[in-house]
């Protein structure tokens, strides 16, 4: 019996069309747009100005504060301007626009493909390097990685969990990465283990990726302390709380972080980025992106530079189909709908999903029939039907008491609702409002 998390969960159709497609290196586009806010926390402050000449890996914007991170140039060329450009958030955000000239990398970056197994850096050096390299959680949450690695005083970490679940339907970026960069993942995991000073790590993979499980299991004997944990397929297993529950049967109390139960979770893509940053001195400026969809002629996995407009990725994957109704940045369950194809990919872009026109519209909303299915599927044990109502009616005290802040916005409730009610829309709204109220209270 394979492990999985204990409450709720759904089984959306997987539709992993791009599975097994080799990661292709996407040609550098003519112009890139690099937003200065690509992570959770304070946006970075640009350290370059119009007309500056930059190389691949040059620092573009510097982090401000602890929860923030650096942004590096993904291309070489000259800086056109810093302007407000529509990004994946749907708002105009400050963005550095660079005209690409050649492909010249910073000399400090080791571009050899040779595997470097030995970790010479100390724990503190690793965390510093990760912070400088601008590494964030590549699963989509884009939380700066160095923050997670800095264990607060009084807390201990005894196990590291690598999230290779990729429970979102359609996406295959992590899967393909595991098949192609197994050794890098193993070394990256060991770097994390050294930074956290733990001797155990679990790489959690859902059982639908048999080839990846076998591949990593065959490698793991050479890397002590790392075990591979196949999990039963169920969404939202990739949620941090659900993953910890599934792997080590510890439940994080409400409002607390994983470190509370002695663990840290990192995404598998992040381990590769960390390997490259620590062993090869390469900052984070490119990532693997899945471009997929039912109507796409050539669903693919690309290694693309940050700031590449999604139109070039879609073009490389066979072009945008005529009947496209929606473009989603990320997976279908938690991804964001994008307003046009000029939007650049960022550190958090795990995939681009093209949805056909007839599948892009929601069904008409009907009365709640009180079937209770939203409660059954909620992985946090909440009552979505009630939270939606109280959020809409601005009854935020009840929402808080019914633990609206525990919601992980996985979308299982809206996915399941037979009446097609926009449960998560209102819960997200209420969550924002309750969060504001709670913050103003602590001030």
């Amino acid at each position: 019996m394979l492990k999985t998390f204990s409450l709720g969960g759904i089984h959306p159709p997987e539709n992993k069309f791009s599975a097994g497609k080799k990661i292709e290196v996407l040609p550098v586009p003519a112009q890139v747009a690099v937003p200065i806010a690509q992570h959770i926390g304070a946006p970075a402050i640009p350290v370059v100005a119009k007309g500056d000449v930059v190389k691949v890996g040059t620092l573009l914007a510097k982090s401000v504060g602890f929860v923030s991170t650096n942004i590096h140039s993904p291309v070489s060329g000259s800086l056109l301007k810093i302007d407000d450009v529509l990004d994946s958030s749907g708002y105009r955000k400050s963005t550095i626009i660079i005209k690409v000239e050649g492909d010249e990398w910073e000399e400090s970056i080791d571009r050899s493909t040779q595997l470097k197994k030995e970790i010479t850096a100390s724990s503190e050096e690793i965390i510093k390097t990760i912070a400088n390299a601008g590494i964030v959680g590549l699963g989509g949450a884009t939380f700066p990685s160095h923050v997670k690695l800095s264990v607060p005083p009084g807390k201990t970490c005894d196990i590291l969990i690598i999230n290779a679940v990729e429970c979102e339907p359609y996406l295959t970026a992590d899967h393909q990465l595991m098949l192609e960069k197994g050794h890098e993942i193993m070394v990256g995991t060991q770097i994390f283990m050294k930074a956290l000073k733990v001797d155990k790590a679990i790489i959690a993979i859902e059982n639908n990726k048999q080839d990846a499980i076998k591949h990593l299991q065959s490698l793991s004997s050479a890397y002590p302390g790392i075990s591979i944990e196949p999990l039963k397929v169920q969404y939202p297993q990739g949620g941090e709380k659900q993953l910890i529950d599934a792997c080590i049967k510890r439940q994080i109390p409400s409002g607390k972080l994983p470190i509370e139960v002695g663990t840290v979770v990192q995404n598998v893509g992040t381990t590769v980025a960390v390997y490259e940053a620590v062993q090869k001195n390469k900052p984070l400026f490119e990532r693997v992106v899945t471009v997929t969809g039912k109507s796409m002629t050539k669903p693919s996995n690309f290694l693309a530079r940050i700031g590449t407009p999604i139109s070039s990725l879609i073009e490389a994957a066979g072009g945008l189909p005529e009947d496209t109704g929606k473009i989603v940045g990320g997976g279908p369950m938690m991804g964001k709908a994008l307003v046009n194809t000029d939007i650049p990919i960022t550190k958090g872009s795990s995939g681009i999903l093209i949805i056909k026109n007839e599948e892009s519209k929601r069904k008409p909303v009907q009365n709640c029939i009180r079937c209770g299915k939203c409660i059954t599927v909620c992985p946090m044990g909440l009552e979505p039907y009630l939270l939606m109502t109280v959020s809409d009616k601005a009854m935020y005290d009840i929402a808080e008491e019914r633990r609206i802040m525990d919601c992980i916005e996985c979308g299982s409730c809206s996915y399941t609702c037979p009446s097609s009610r926009p449960l998560l829309d209102y819960i997200r709204l209420g969550k924002g409002k309750v969060g504001q109220i709670m913050r103003s209270r602590t001030k």
Binding site: D84, N367, T389, D425, Y426, L429, G432
Partner: protein
């Protein structure tokens, strides 16, 4: 016979004892309340809208009775008359707050501001605003989902199906519910003005001129022409956006014709003088846009603008009714659905 007597006696004794208990309990737990509070509450409109910033009319009445100086307190719904009667009851001085009215500072109609995408989420401005900038190029303007109309307790607003924007009727009492409901802060309470005449910048787009103009025909592009022309320093320009301070504005209307995008609206004024008209005619391209933007509600009201103010309200209502007549059935249906939906949520 005996049974009857015993029954009557028992009941009488029981009744007396219960009455005594009730009397003493009532005496013991009596809460003294100033009788003036009831009087004042009666004088208030009992709308419980919260426009006075107190939770309900009762709380406002308590505050009025308690505080010595009530010049800062105002009931926007009842206005000066109500406050006068309150002052008579309490024997205190009341301030004379100028009556306010809610103003929608966006004229991004479907023609002026083309849609760039199709919003398909929950029918609420708050949800749409928390998701993204909106279904047009302008990320500041009206989202058109009608949160403000839903918040209005006085039936003083409706969504114009032609423009996709909310329209505020003259029975607005300036309670401020719509101002709070709008996630984009588009609605502002402004002075009603003499004869209902008021001038305001009908745009809150803070984008740079080029970007703003590209997304909306009638956006404020922050050119500053109105600031220069204003003799009273009532107009300020901040973040590419002009703002008219209604306290300083003397309604001279100099700013209205100079605005290159017709973002400054004048309401309830007689039609422009011959001089301005000539000016408009010389600019052939600008003319249709200028006509379109004269009135807030619709161009149909323009010929009637010469009539007296009260007459105008009537005609305005008539014209807007005509405009919405066709859609009325649909709207009723929508209302019904919405209300059943509400009930269901309360469940």
């Amino acid at each position: 016979m005996n049974v009857v007597v015993i029954t009557i006696l028992t009941l009488a004794v029981l009744g007396t004892v219960a009455a005594l208990v009730l009397y003493f309990v009532a005496q013991k737990f009596k809460v003294f309340e100033d009788p003036k509070i009831d009087l004042v509450e009666e004088a208030l409109p009992a709308a419980n809208c919260g426009g006075c910033s107190f939770p309900g009319c009762r709380a406002f009445a308590e505050a009025l009775v308690k505080s010595d100086d009530i010049s800062a307190l105002n009931c926007p719904v009842g206005g000066a008359e109500t406050m006068k009667s309150v002052a008579e009851i309490l024997g205190k001085e009341v301030g004379t707050a100028a009556p306010l009215i809610a103003v929608v500072r966006c004229y991004g109609t479907c023609d002026n501001r083309p849609k760039t995408n199709h919003y398909d989420g929950a029918g609420s401005c708050a949800v749409a605003a928390s998701l993204y900038g909106g279904d047009t190029g302008c990320s500041y303007g009206c989202l058109g989902e009608g949160d403000c109309v839903a918040a209005c307790n006085f039936d003083a607003m409706y969504m114009d199906p032609k423009t996709g924007l909310p329209v505020i009727k003259d029975n607005c009492v300036a309670c401020g519910a719509c101002v709070d409901a709008c996630p984009k802060d588009i609605i502002e309470l402004r002075k009603v003005g003499p004869k209902g005449r008021r001038i305001f910048v009908s745009c809150i787009n803070k984008d740079k001129g080029g970007v703003a103009k590209k997304s909306c025909e009638v956006a404020c592009i922050g050119c500053g022409k109105c600031v220069k022309v204003c003799p009273f320093e009532a107009i300020t320009l901040e973040n590419n956006l002009a703002y008219i301070n209604y306290e300083k504005c003397k309604l001279c209307r100099k700013c209205v014709p100079v605005c290159p995008t017709n973002a400054i609206h004048e309401i309830n004024f007689p039609p422009p003088k011959v001089k301005t008209e000539e000016k408009v005619e010389t600019n052939a391209v600008k003319k249709p846009v200028a006509e379109k933007a004269v009135g807030e509600a619709s161009t149909l009201e323009k010929p009637t603008a010469e009539k007296s103010f009260s007459e105008k309200i009537v005609t305005e209502k008539v014209t807007t009714k005509n405009a919405t007549d066709l859609k009325l059935d649909d709207e009723v249906k929508k209302d019904m659905n919405a209300s059943s939906d509400d009930k269901n949520k309360e469940d």
